[in-house]
Symmetry: C2
Amino acid sequence: MDPAKDQADELARRLAAGERGALARLISWAENKDPRFAAALAGFYPRVGRAWRLGITGPPGAGKSSLVSALIEKLRESGQTVGVLAIDPSSPYSGGALLGDRIRMEERTTDPGVYIRSMATRAGSGGLARAAVDAADVMDAFGFDTLLIETVGVGQTEYEIVGAADLVLVVLCPGAGDGIQAMKAGLLEVADVLVANKSDQPGNEQLVLDLEDALKLRSLSRRGQAKEVPVVPVSAHSGAGLDTLVQVIAAARSARGQGELTLLRQEKRLRQVRRIVRERLEDALFGPGGPGERAADLLGQSRTPYDVADQLLGALPRSGPATPTTP
Amino acid sequence: MDPAKDQADELARRLAAGERGALARLISWAENKDPRFAAALAGFYPRVGRAWRLGITGPPGAGKSSLVSALIEKLRESGQTVGVLAIDPSSPYSGGALLGDRIRMEERTTDPGVYIRSMATRAGSGGLARAAVDAADVMDAFGFDTLLIETVGVGQTEYEIVGAADLVLVVLCPGAGDGIQAMKAGLLEVADVLVANKSDQPGNEQLVLDLEDALKLRSLSRRGQAKEVPVVPVSAHSGAGLDTLVQVIAAARSARGQGELTLLRQEKRLRQVRRIVRERLEDALFGPGGPGERAADLLGQSRTPYDVADQLLGALPRSGPATPTTP
């Protein structure tokens, strides 16, 4: 008799049966670090791995959410079901307000083939990437054909989140970031496809040329070892170039053999293992009642941060941090 | 007889004696996660805490490095010595190339009152914030009056790095980011002072107004509980507004009483303890010979990431991860 385990099994069963309530609840478990999530995941894990996961990132103002809306439409036209995860790691304060338009988007959706979910920063920036992958697993197991995982803004946390997807689209537009700026921000590194959005605006052709130059430069500097990254001009607004983009995405998928995909996904799973390990250790050390509560006192005795870290690590529970129990 | 400890003590002594070679070498130890760093830090820790640390961040293209150059000049005019740390967490690839201009800057410096050091991403993005604080401690103990800690680009890692400073300047310019964009990117949250750079360019007045509006909005939404953030228009190029900026920085320093500063620094030290703990645990689990090497095999047996994480945590060495020994 383990009521937590029973609840987890029940929810996994309901997810497999296609219940939206179970979908929403499991994502909330992931988001809130509910200890029952691990058991639920074990229940539906055999169903995970069929969805094609697209990560979408780019600087604020590049038109990511318009592109996501346009992609949803295109994918629905081709008969695919779509799960969308919009993630804002920027700050607990801006989070709420800026996810406003996403939430309105969620409310507007009456198409049963589309599910949109926003996540803000509740879990902390490390925990957010972990929670995003968990949420994507839930959507995957539910049965969506394609997942769109979008971040608001750019940065390491955002790259970690979209990098867990099978293919990463980086969205840029004239003004919001030219080729050099994109390179500086590390955007080129994370991109599998570069989308030059707002192709109806002046400067877009130059943006495409700049990006192609930046890619060539990178390819040269790595002696041709850099991956091929297509640059696709689109206008999410008018729809121009969207069919090409959908084709480029499909081509990238088929170019990657099943073996390569399995290998890539395995690597990405390993990163998820590390995130979970990190989060559990962090909680064991710095959570309520943990040895971390003594850290401030120890520092007050003018010990160096390294000394204090050693003291805390020495106080780590014998068995290693245990699986958290139901609070 | 512990040769590692002797080397650490020797280097700490040489740092206190004002040897630049010791300064450079200790920062490299911090950067390369040299196990001798902890012992060296213990040696010079009593000297840490006298420097005033300014963090400087902002989107690429906002003119951060021009501002840093201009600030160095102003601070030198007032007789202060200045240590500069330029940090690029963006990517191991872009890192080298983009730090190029900083490195040229380093070479140009013949003023013994200025020391400039660049750090790229060698230590991983988590380790980079830890290494940046260690490097700042080294510069502080060496005796620089003011430290300028600058990041290339914006994002969570960058905020963590500049957030370890006593005061954070966020640099924006017309076009590269208006008030709303800054809010979206979470830049407002990290700022103690907003610098509207390129005041000689069109749109700068509008930028100042937008930023002030964004700050007012934030203050309203928190019922006046938000901190006061001055907006200072400057032109790093022409020098306009720089004296005001220096005064604003000085005023912020004196407005903060010694008690408040001590408290703030204590909080920031705690974060450093957590970074060190995290890094050591990570190394103990996922370093060479660690239990993490079994993770891929375990995942291959279609266990969930949570199951694998539990297995690895159970295999954590009895005493907790030990202080790494000299490799």
